[in-house]
Each structure stands twice: as C-alpha cells, then as structure tokens.
C-alpha cells in the first residue's frame, strides 16, 4: 500500500507537521526534559548556580516523613475528588436530562461553577467558611448552635478542600454526561422499558454500561484535575495547613520551587508527580479497556 498517496513529496507531510512540532518541542518536550535534568541537580536561586547531585534529591524526598505525608494527602484528596465529582456529576446529569419545566435553567446553573475562575471560587469559600465572620458558621450557629473551625481541624480542612474541588468540577462532568445521555440509543432503552425493567434496572443495566466510554474519559480527566488543578484552592484556603494536613504534591512543588528557591527539589517532585499520573493513566487504560463498552 502506498502510504504517500495523498502527498506527492515525501517532505510535505513533515513540513505541514512542523508548526505543531515546534510548539510541542518548545513548550512541552523541552521543559519536560529540562525538569528531568534539573531534578538531578542542586539548584540555587532559580538556576543562577547549580551542581550535579545525582539522585540525592529523590533520596531526600523518599526519606522525608513530611513528603510521605504529602503523598498520602494527595492520594486521599484525589480519590475523594474523583469519586465525588463523578458520582455527583452523573446523578445531577440524570436529573437534569429529564424534560421538566425550566430544564434549560437547571442545566445552566449546574454548569455555572465550572465557568468561575478557581481563584475567585477560592476567595469566596474562604469568606464563607471564616470561623468567626463567615456565613456558614453564622447559619450553623443560629440553627444548630455549632461553629466548627473549618480550617483549623485537619479533617475538616481536607473535607472542605475536597468539597470545593468537587463543587468546582461537577459542572464539567455534567456537560459531558448530559451529552452522553442524549446520545444514548433510544431503541435500547425503549426495549428495556417494554420488557418491564424498573427505572433502577434501566439505569444500572442499560444507561450506565452505555455511558462507560464517557465515564472512562471523565475518570482520566478528573484524575488529572485532582492532581494538577487543585493548587489555587490549597493556596487560597489553607496554604497546606494545619501543619501540612492539606499539603498536596502540586502545592508543595510550587512552594519548594518558587517560595523556597529549591528548584532541584521541585523538579524531582514534578518528575515523581509526572510518573505517578502516567502510571495511573496506563493502569486505567489497562483495567478500563475490558470493561468499557463502545457500542456499535
């Protein structure tokens, strides 16, 4: 078979690909490689001076109980964020997919949080959950007579961060799940209905399996979200506190790199995060492939 059928010149496809390559190399591959290289150096002042230390940075990280704690925090955070934002997203989409009056408004409102900038969301939540003057504790005091210290208690602080991260990302999942729901083959659902399946059965036996490609896609996207995009919430709400209870990998990388000037250590952590996410994604593909039903 002639693979060059569409192009007369052997070079033309490469020329056409060149712009993409230039951008990928400059902004993706080069920084990635540079990060790998930097992780083997002890770097002072954002690169003004550096010396080769081999895997010293990694050794320091893996023997540091604080880093292991941060790693654990990240796993807990990512797990709950992914589970909740997808479950809530799916539940809300099923509800919003029904043709009740005002469905357009419901859908719009569900997507709204996603359109808000994370920084703004962080600041709003900070105000709302202020232990003394926030609206949440004000309402809790007059209704239940309690005023939890949201950010001072390690469990509550982590819970709040998960809540904010979920709240922010549910809209994204809703958009995709609604699209998925609307593209389901109507005849299959109709057949199930005629066969006398209950709504519960119809959802779990028909709708949910048919949605599996979407679920799989969202699982990967949400995992990446939980690992990489939670930075503003941590930075604005807790700064990793109380005493590292909410410090997660991405926040620690920023802090080591740009607040403490430990560029080498930050690079090593980026590499670890990179490997962790790549590993998770591959795992999801491996596990997911057998279970995802692409229809057709």
């Amino acid at each position: 078979m002639d693979t060059h059928a569409a192009y007369k010149s052997r070079w033309l496809p490469w020329v056409l690909l060149l712009p993409s390559f230039v951008i990928l190399i400059l902004f993706l591959y080069y920084p990635t490689i540079e990060t790998f290289v930097l992780s083997l150096y002890q770097v002072a002042f954002l690169g003004l001076s550096k010396s080769f230390v081999g895997i010293e940075n990694y050794k320091i990280l893996f023997t540091d109980p604080e880093y292991l704690q941060i790693f654990k925090n990240t796993v807990v955070f990512a797990f709950f964020v992914v589970i909740f934002s997808m479950a809530v997203g799916l539940a809300l989409s099923v509800l919003a997919n029904q043709r009740v009056s005002g469905w357009r408004i419901y859908r719009l409102l569900l997507i709204w949080p996603y359109a808000l900038s994370p920084a703004v969301a962080g600041v709003i939540f900070l105000f709302m959950f202020n232990p003394q003057s926030g609206i949440v504790n004000y309402l809790l005091t007059i209704t239940l007579g309690i005023a939890p210290d949201w950010l001072t208690n390690p469990t509550l602080a982590m819970g709040l961060l998960v809540f904010v991260a979920v709240w922010k990302n549910v809209g994204y999942n809703v958009v995709f799940y609604i699209a998925g729901l609307q593209n389901l083959p109507g005849e299959v659902l109709e057949a199930a209905l005629i066969d006398g399946a209950t709504p519960w059965q119809r959802f779990w036996r028909v709708t949910f399996p048919l949605l599996s490609p979407m679920t799989f896609f969202l699982l990967i996207i949400n995992t990446i979200y939980a690992f990489f995009e939670a930075f503003p919430f941590v930075d604005l709400l807790t700064k990793g506190g109380p005493s590292n209870a909410t410090n997660i990998l991405i926040f620690n990388i920023y802090r080591d790199g740009f607040e403490y000037y430990k560029t080498g250590m930050a690079a090593a952590q980026s590499v670890i995060l990179f490997i962790a996410v790549v590993f998770l994604t591959i795992l999801q593909f491996r596990v997911g492939e057998g279970r995802v039903h692409y229809g057709g």
Partner: protein, 436 residues
C-alpha cells in the same frame, strides 16, 4: 529606494538621540492596591522634576514574586534597576550575587542621607557595617484594640495590656462579660514569633543571629520560644485567641478585628492608616499600644520588618547613577514624611521624624504614636537586629506548622525539638547549595 533608506537611517539616528537624552530606569515593587497609586504619584513627581531620567515603576505581585521575577530577569540579562526586597530575603539577595552593595556607590555629597537613618533601621540593614540596600518601608507589630469593647468589659480603655499575663486577664474579662465573641487575634505568622524572641533579648540563629558569620544553627528549641508557645496555646485553648485557620492570613485577621469579632489584634504598624479608616467606618474607637511581652522579661525591643530597595548589577554607569539618584530622592526627608502619613510605615529618617514632630503629627494622630515610640525605644543589639538566615521563608513555614501542631495538642517540647531539627536541616542544605 535610496531615499527610503536615508529616511529610515535618519529616523533611527533621531531615535537614538532621543533615547540618549532620557535615561530609562525600571523599578519593581510589591505593593498592590492604594499603595501602587501612591508610589506612582511619587514617581511622576520625580520624572517631572528630573527631565533627564524616566523612571518606570511596575507592581510585581508579592514580595516573593518580585524577588523571583528579579532573579529570572537578571539571569536573562535584563534585570530591573531597582527591586524591593523583603527583610528576610536580605541574605538570599546577598547570596544571589545579582545586586551591588549600594553604599559603595552613593556620591559623597549625599552620604549624609545614609547617616540620617534612625538607629533601629540602620541597625537592621547595615550588614557587615555597610548598607547593601536603601531602607524603605519599615514596620513592626503593635497592639490594636477596640476601646468600646474594653469599656463594655469594664477595662480601662486608656490602658491596654502590656504583658502576656495582662492579655490573658483582659481576655478573661472580655469573654466573661460577653463584650466580644473572641478576645484577640493576629495572623498565624512566624513574624510575630520572631518579634517576641527579640523582645526577650534572645537570638533566632547562631553566630549572633547570622550577623557575625553565616548562621549554621536555628534556635527554635529555646526557653524564649517555649514561653511564647505556652502562652499562645493557653489563649487558644481557652478560646481567647482566634484566627481564620489559614496561615499568614493578614486580611483575615484584620477582618476579624474590624468586624468587632475580636477585641484586640496584633499586627503591623503599616496598617495604622487602614485601621483608623476602618474603625471609623465600623463605628468604634481605636486604640494602639505596645506589643505585649512575656512577664518578668525586660522589654528589649522589636525587629524592623518591611523591605528595602536594592540596586542590580551590570548596568551602564549612567543608568546606575540615575537609579541611585532616584532611590535617594524617593527616600528623602519629604518623601518619607508623605509615605508615613499615607501608610503608617515608619518615617525612617531622623529628619523626617523632626518634621513630623514639628507638625505636631503624633499629638494629632495618637494611633501612630505607639508604633513609633516602640521602635525608638528598641535597644540596639543582636536580638533586635534580626536574624539573617538564607532559607528564612522556609523556616517561617516550619515555625507556622509547629504552632498549628501545638494547637492540635502536640507536646510543646516535642514540637519545638522537631521543628528545630527540621529548620537546621533546611539551613544546612541551603548553605551547602550556596557554597558550591
């Protein structure tokens, strides 16, 4: 074609001629909000009165962002001429090697201005006997209190607590009388801890706070620190002390005090102007007092906080001179008076103080007085000079984490010794990275 070339050539020449006429200076600072406008106005004044120089001023975000941006720009060979750097970044700035020691370049006829700095400020910024940078915004912590709540609680509104025990006693009355839901707040920030260490005449690092030689040991596990933590933990456990839960939350602490959720706040003197306006808007009478100190300890004084202005290396002589001209103008007697009135930051020159006294400023604005007296009464010694530690930002986080652990119930002695070990480790790694 030829004609076009001539025109292009001529205009290029003209361009050069114009460029040569005005020396362009860039100045990066870390002040947002109203202070940006304040600085902008001063710079416009300067440009108007110095036709040969054009200063361009840019707000670069936080202190850390500004320092990062400056180091990166220097690495790429286009550093701004003047950079504002926070006090704990001083050792970092020295080690980075991108700045010139400013005192060597001050012209002889302007040297007098360097001798005009009030002692505590000169004390902090003279490193190895020399000014490496020009002191600019200086502040330290004072006690702000709500006189109306004090009256309600049956406390003397003209006599704020001066020691740790007095704070605890006042809190007991305030909470018992329900004059306010919480008694006292301050941002959970290492800065306050550093100040209380200095007030006790203790050091935060070896080699005389890193002033005699590079510091190699951080003193967190100390008696002075224990005293602070015991008191703080006591206030927290009794529900007297409150904070938002987020470390270094300056705005959050101000919000608690201004909304009258807390009767007292300890925070920077640079907020005097803000507090006066806010107390007026919220309808309560504001009082200020000295930073409360541990009982049975002689008040030693506070460390000057804030930032100074540094001159970067590697510019043509003419630009360097212009930058220096601007710096010395920007921090001269008149401008320091304006700066103090507009913000609450100290007038750092003796002559500025004289002007303010002559104007009866402190009598007419008593809130500014406590701030200033406290600074002048600080004793000049290694403790109040403040520590020079390379990885200071990281050590601050270690201290803040330690405080939060203590709140959660960790044994104070254990928390202190663990934090001490962590800080020493951080310092060791930093020192190793600088030596290479």
């Amino acid at each position: 074609m030829k004609r076009l070339a001539t025109v292009v050539g001529l205009s290029a020449l003209l361009g050069f001629a114009f460029a040569a006429e005005k020396v362009q200076i860039t100045f990066w600072h870390a002040f947002g909000g109203g202070r940006t406008a304040f600085i902008q106005r001063a710079v416009e004044d300067f440009n108007y009165t110095h036709p040969g120089i054009e200063v361009k001023v840019e707000y670069k975000g936080s202190y850390r962002d500004t320092l990062n941006a400056a180091i990166l720009a220097a690495k790429q060979g286009n550093a701004p001429h003047i950079v504002q750097i926070f006090e704990v970044g001083s050792q970092l700035a020295l080690d980075s090697g991108i700045f010139v020691p400013i005192e060597n370049y001050v012209p002889a006829d302007l040297k007098f201005q360097l001798d005009d700095y009030i002692k505590p400020v000169a004390n902090y910024y003279r490193i190895g006997g020399k000014f490496n940078s020009i002191p600019w915004n200086s502040s330290n912590p004072i006690l702000y209190y709500n006189k109306d709540i004090f009256k309600k609680a049956g406390l003397d509104p003209e006599n704020p607590p001066k020691t740790f025990n007095e704070v605890a006693q006042a809190c007991e009355k305030i909470i018992a009388s329900k004059a306010a839901p919480k008694c006292i707040t301050w941002p959970l920030h290492s800065w306050f801890v550093e100040q209380w260490i200095a007030e006790q005449g203790a050091l935060l690092a070896n080699n005389e706070n890193g002033r005699a030689a590079r510091a190699t040991n951080v003193y967190i596990d100390s008696e002075a620190m224990k005293r602070i933590m015991k008191w703080w933990k006591g206030l927290y456990d009794k529900g007297y002390y409150t904070y938002t839960g987020k470390p270094e939350d300056w705005d959050g602490a101000n919000q608690l005090f201004v909304s009258q959720q807390a009767a007292m706040e300890i925070t920077s003197t640079s907020d005097v102007t803000f507090m006066q306006n806010a107390s007026f808007e919220n309808g309560f009478e504001l009082g200020t007092g000295f930073l409360p100190v541990p009982d049975g300890v002689e008040r030693n004084g506070t460390v000057v906080g804030g930032a100074s202005l540094w001159l970067t290396k590697g510019h043509p002589q003419e630009e360097q001179e212009a930058a220096l001209t601007f710096l010395l103008w920007f921090t001269n007697t008149e401008n320091m008076v304006r700066w103090h009135k507009g913000t609450g930051y100290f007038p750092v020159l003796n002559t500025s103080v004289k002007v303010l006294e002559w104007q009866n400023w402190f009598e007419r604005n008593p809130a500014y007085r406590a701030a200033f007296d406290q600074l002048l009464q600080s004793k000049a010694n290694r403790a109040t000079q403040g520590a020079l530690i390379g990885p200071f930002p990281e050590i601050r986080t270690i201290i803040e984490n330690m405080v939060q652990e203590i709140f959660q119930g960790k044994d104070i002695a254990k928390a202190l010794s663990e934090a001490d070990a962590q800080a020493d480790q951080a310092l060791k790694r930093y020192n190793a990275s600088v030596k290479k």
